[in-house]
Symmetry: C2
Subunit: 671 residues, 2 copies
């Protein structure tokens, strides 16, 4: 129940409204939940701050954007420009160049000098006497002189004096004076926006990257031999050649023996069954230990370094749950839920029970020590050189815990990246992103047709979500073999790969089942049959059925086209076939434009007429497109052009748009 | 420049997040600008508060809406229900029954009892042993007993005891226990929403009413005789018979002689020219005085009372500007803008000058006394019995001034209604509504075709605007004779009247030019020729060309169909003719449903097939519609029905939907 003492009942009467500025600043973007959470950018991105700024009457407005790295005492200032007069929309831009937090706010005021200059020009044009106006202008300039630094005073005084001469018209036209006055004219009753908004700046990896998930224990040529970190090191060229930036490993910690699961999640394992890596903790240790069969800590360091040499980040899984054998269970029984008979409660989603997993009681009495210990787990692996973390089921742990953990880890390791595996309801998924996760798994996995994809990606990139939730488009995971992939054959895998790799600046696959187009599932389920979660598998990586060459091509295209390193630049195009989808991504300067057309039907050749948004592509009525998958080039002219895709050959075009086409106008004698 | 001392840099780390509830409350509606301004309702309306409330895992959530009249110390509490689980959307409702301000907020917590009850039922259904669960349930009930009032303890204890018997299944099924536990179970770590939101409650007139603007001086049968308040009293039956609720009078104050305007806004008036009522102030007085030619204060009181007897409110114009003859100019020269030569600056919009108007300097040094005096002007007229004010050009005065004035007047006269005449940019129009205006003129005046109307009214009624901006749909004003009316003849006036009267709970016309279908304009302008703003006009009210009978019919329909007393209930229907528009308004209980079809083409008969949203109309696949304009009845069946309108007869159907049609199922022997 709110306390009447601290009631904000008076809030509907803005404080000191009587003495405030006549200028109003509204709808300031970007901001997340009224500024409670930072919006997100990566190094080198721009923060484009917009606001509706308005006042009464015909008054011109001056506005500045102030920004700084959080912790610095001085603000930097950049003018805001009126971009859409009808909406009173102002915009200012600054760049974020360092990891950590930035903050910004806005000031605005009635710009008396611009009012004066504009009105006086109009009166002059109408032949009216402006004697009094010139005197009024001199007052404004002389006021500025009082506040200006010595360096500017002389110039200002020169202009003030000119108003008294026949040269007064020059004063009204002077851009130099306009700039001086923007800086030094008296800002009467400045409106300061009532909040300082924050921006969290992360490394480029938070926005851009191709992920490859693999089970190290399956990097082996026979089921009986447990793959090791050393095997993964030997396997690196395979992943590197395909063009991946991140290798994500399921938990690498000792696996519990109590209630261990057998193949296909059975409850009756044999003595040699390896168990699920997510049943974390055994007598060999818990979340800071390494499963002995994978190798030593030194081997792990070697893997990190060998991957780094090849430009690959090793990402670890953070799954905060314990096997009954986890050392925490005996050392900190108070961190778990106790039942009335003194037993520890296992994980359950009634009527299902997961006897091999003890959930942690994040609200136990000893929660502060518990939270610190769990945070130290992440810090420990960051100290070992891991900078990318995929967090398992964050939506089953309290939001405040993640807010605390990510913030504390980033305080020491600002380059860390956290991926949230929350296949939860939309508000939950979004809130975890607000709490600090750099990236999120999404519903992409289940969005297949044109309408689903268009709606979903417009929601992700064209709503406020885009300010704090960065998708990581996994096409499959060890938990999810989507129906579409089960029934669409090799072309289906290529379709999903092409969509993931071009719709998302970050995407991922779980291999080798993905590139090998594995479709064996448990009956009526999205679970893989004979899942690597419960057993060691071997794979024939040289299977001619593999689509690794297609994936390699996609990743090469991603690397060399920076338009694909962003998300908010996605624009869908019209194409008159509901089985085909088309979209562009373009850099802000237009120097790099990618146009993608995908045949969403894995079974049939489809064709259609594509509408070309010439203006948006910065093109004239004709240009060349170069398909970076097959190498084919088309010369397109007019506002619609024909496209056709046979999914058995390639279900996608990833065109580079080459704008400059020669025409008769390019010849010297033209015009 | 923000002060680093008071910087909110720490805001992105919500304070005390570590110790806070796991539950999150987001997107609370209604709220205006993060709770800075109240949302608006009229007496008897409901406040439907919604929020996204969620937490981690599978936890059930308990939530309550707390509300009270502002100033009361005790909160009332009503449960919030989960309306859309996929969006975690909860809703609670309360009714506002008194003028003034209400406030509300929300609390939410993890509902341990519902969690327990839900999970235990699932385990029982799966045949699992629930011995420990029953003990856990007893703990929850016994905790509630400790906090519950004596009256509830016995019942709770009975249920706790039953858990120990074979009747435990009854405990799990008991709705009575569920209610008791909702009230008394321990609410662990309650999340209180971080704001108390406000609702301004106004009289019904703020939402619903038909307005008629007239110039009292033209209530005369010859140009030479200045109409008076007594003439207006004699004229009341004419306006009452048409069914209007409000008569709005242009300024009734003494009119300045200095720089007085002649007919058609000319600068060379004759000695008998009456001038513009908006050139306020002469030697006879200013904003608190009455123009002597209209009558005395006693006459004015008589008009107010005579109108009240007929159910009509008299609305006054508030135009805060002065003629050079206004007493303020000599008594308070400091309230005006001074130029360098000591003269007072007249109103201007360069290169235009308005020599008959001095604008007021709202930021002058003596602003506090000035603001108080202007507020007292409104208080004075409220004391004379005026409750409705139409404010002239509020967008040329500072926002904080209006916020102050409306709030101060409403403190004493909470029933007052303020209409903002701000034909300004959208953000400005909206902000004046936020500052407290009850109603606003809109762009309806210039929205004519189907797409324009659909887009605009969806924006007005289905966006956040609907929480604070109430439209008053004037079809014409003394300043605006829209192009559509100039070129569409009598049918055009009927079209606009039908749209205004049914799209808006409040609408208005400026008569008699509207009902007489006057189309004479100044060349290439929306200004009336020989405008009443500058001269006395006489009108033949019995002209057979008049559409007063049509207007009378519309106003009768409005009075007897409360579905038309609201705005947010507007829904557009599909009709396959771009010249025709169709929409419904329905009461929440579905008891009153109006379906409007308008032919927007004033020249041709148009017809089309209308799609019937049976489910929304609460109807079966057939029903009767009764046109309240012509009396015709149609029996409609199937999902599309044919409609045709000849604009020369009536350009609109205003159907009452009669749902209960007899069919074979209504006979006893059926089924």
């Amino acid at each position: 129940m709110p306390n009447p003492e601290t009631s904000q009942a008076s809030k509907y009467a803005p404080p000191n409204m009587l003495s405030q500025s006549r200028v109003t600043i509204e709808n300031v973007q970007p901001q997340v939940d009224e500024g409670t959470f930072p919006s997100k950018r990566v190094i080198g991105e721009k923060v484009r701050a917009t606001a509706s700024i308005h006042t009464d009457g015909h008054n011109a407005i001056g506005a500045t954007l102030q920004y700084r790295k959080t912790g610095e005492s001085d603000w930097q200032e950049t003018p805001m420009e009126l971009k859409q007069p009808g909406l009173d929309l102002f915009e200012g831009v600054f760049e974020v160049t360092e990891l950590g937090y930035y903050e910004f706010t806005i000031s605005a005021w009635i710009d008396a000098f611009t009012n004066w200059s504009r009105d006086t020009k109009k009166k002059l044009a109408a032949g009216q006497d402006v004697t009094l106006e010139l005197t009024e202008g001199a007052v404004l300039i002389n006021d500025a002189i009082k506040d200006a630094p010595a360096s500017a005073r002389e110039d200002l005084a020169k202009y003030a004096a000119m108003l008294d001469t026949f040269e007064y018209q020059l004063v009204l036209q002077s851009a130099a004076l306009h700039d001086l006055m923007h800086k030094y004219s008296r800002r009467g009753r400045v409106r300061e926006y009532n909040k300082i908004l924050s921006v969290m700046v992360e490394s480029e990896r938070a926005l851009y990257g191709a992920w490859y998930e693999l089970f190290p224990r399956s990097v082996t040529n026979k089921k009986e031999k447990h793959g090791t970190f050393k095997d993964v090191i030997a396997h690196l060229p395979y992943v590197q050649d395909m063009g991946f930036d991140v290798i994500y490993l399921p938990p690498i910690h000792p696996i519990g023996k109590a209630a261990r699961k057998g193949p296909n999640n059975t409850l009756t394992p044999g003595p040699n069954d390896v168990g699920s890596p997510w049943a974390i903790g055994a007598k060999e240790g818990g979340h800071k230990a390494i499963h002995p069969e994978l190798g030593s800590l030194a081997d792990f360091h070697e893997l990190i370094n060998a991957a780094a040499v090849r430009g690959i980040d090793i990402a670890l899984d953070i799954a905060f749950q314990c096997s009954p054998d986890h050392p925490y269970v005996t050392e900190h029984p108070e961190w778990f839920y106790r039942r009335p008979d003194g037993s520890i409660r296992c994980a359950e989603n009634p009527p299902k029970r997961y006897e091999d997993i003890y959930p942690i009681d994040f609200e136990c009495e000893d929660w502060e020590a518990l939270w610190e210990e769990l945070k130290d787990v992440v810090v420990y692996w960051a100290q070992q050189g891991v900078k990318v973390f995929r967090v398992d089921n964050p939506h089953t742990k309290p939001y405040p815990f993640w807010h605390y953990l990510i913030r504390e880890v980033k305080r020491v390791f600002p380059e860390t990246v956290f991926l949230s595996e929350a296949f939860a309801r939309p508000k939950v998924m979004a809130y975890l992103a607000k709490c600090g996760f750099s990236q999120s798994y999404t519903y992409f996995t289940w969005r297949n047709n044109k309408e689903e994809l268009t709606t979903y990606f417009n929601e992700l990139y064209n709503s406020e979500l885009a300010d704090y939730l960065r998708p990581n488009l996994f096409a499959n995971t060890p938990d999810i073999l989507p129906d579409f992939l089960q029934y669409s054959g090799r072309s289906g895998f290529m379709i999903r790969a092409a969509l993931a790799a071009t719709l998302g600046a970050t995407y991922g696959i779980y291999g080798p089942p993905f590139e090998l187009c594995v479709t064996d599932s448990m009956p009526n389920a999205e679970e893989y049959k004979d899942s690597e979660k419960y057993e060691i598998r071997t794979w024939n990586l040289e299977d001619p059925h593999s689509i690794k060459d297609f994936i390699t091509r996609l990743n090469k295209i991603r690397r060399s086209n920076i338009a694909l390193h962003a998300n908010r630049n996605l624009k869908f195009l019209n194409i008159d076939n509901r089985e085909m989808i088309a979209y562009t991504k373009s850099t802000e300067d237009g120097a790099n434009t990618i146009l993608v057309v995908v045949n969403l039907d894995p079974h049939h050749t489809q064709s259609g007429y594509l509408q070309i948004p010439f203006a948006e592509l910065g093109a004239d009525q004709s240009f060349q497109v170069h398909d970076l998958i097959t190498g084919v080039r088309f010369f397109w002219t007019g506002d619609t052009n024909f496209v056709q895709l046979d999914p058995q050959v390639s279900p996608a075009y990833v065109f580079k748009v080459l704008r400059k086409l020669k025409s008769e106008r390019d010849f010297d004698y033209f015009a």
